[in-house]
């Protein structure tokens, strides 16, 4: 079955965004396809490259990066939500004359069309948070 995920939750609050990453890994392990993960509103903070977590907590970033690097999953941050929250790739940082990228390169920044495409291309679209 083809899945896509929509993540709305702030990764620094509660466990919902972590649940989304765990769900993504589990569905791949069970042989399903993951078309895309789209991050909207506070969910775009999942792409933050520089979050530092205490030693007795795992960084939620690692699970996302592994999805992209080990499984080729498309991780897309909504551009409107991302820019507002200072989540920039190299291109946006240059365009708005900010110091540098603030998102991990495993993520890309794009528009809501990518969520609509994910909805059309997937059997299941699962929302986390909201």
């Amino acid at each position: 079955m083809i899945y896509s995920l929509l993540v709305l939750s702030d990764p620094t609050r509660g466990s919902m965004a972590r649940n989304a990453a765990a769900f993504a890994h589990t569905l791949l392990a069970r042989g399903h396809e993951l078309h895309r993960v789209f991050f909207l509103d506070k969910g775009v903070l999942c792409g933050a490259a520089c979050g530092i977590y205490p030693q007795d907590e795992s960084s939620p970033l690692d699970a996302w990066v592994s999805l992209a690097q080990d499984h080729g999953v498309d991780l897309v941050l909504c551009v409107t939500s991302a820019l507002r929250q200072g989540m920039l790739d190299e291109r946006e940082a240059a365009r708005f004359e900010r110091g540098g990228a603030t998102i991990h390169p495993a993520f890309t920044i794009s528009g809501l069309g990518q969520l609509i495409d994910a909805s059309a291309a997937s059997d299941r679209l699962i929302t986390f948070g909201g």
Partner: protein, 123 residues
């Protein structure tokens, strides 16, 4: 089920217009669906019915006015707009005042609406 129905998407708006960002994100998503000509229906439920309040002034908060954005939905051919009648009563929102024409649904009609869509995004 026609092809349109099998591809159809229902957006459920559950948040008040200016308390947090999700109402705005939802309206942006609805407008994007319209721009991409992707069939979409909208349901305002719970505190989401407050987005249908008349005479909103989001600009006074330094924010985009959600009511004005909702009023533009018919320009994008988005006309399947519904709200939970019970929530409308609870929050004192009546359909004739709404910035966008919206049809009230009772509990049974709500269930039917949720069932007949292939995908639901609740935000």
């Amino acid at each position: 089920m026609s092809d349109d129905e099998t591809r159809s998407l229902l957006l459920v708006f559950r948040h008040s217009p200016y308390g947090e960002g999700l109402a705005r994100a939802g309206v942006d998503l609805a407008l994007a669906c319209g721009a991409f000509e992707h069939p979409v229906s909208l349901l305002f439920a719970g505190a989401g019915v407050l987005q249908l309040c008349p005479r909103q002034d989001g600009n006074s908060l330094g924010l985009k006015d959600i009511g004005k954005q909702l009023a533009s939905l018919p320009l994008y051919d988005i006309e399947s707009v519904y709200f939970d009648a019970e929530a409308g009563t609870r929050y004192g929102v009546s359909p004739q005042d709404s910035p966008v024409p919206a049809e009230p649904l009772d509990a049974q009609a709500l269930q039917r609406l949720l069932r007949e869509h292939r995908q639901i995004i609740s935000l």
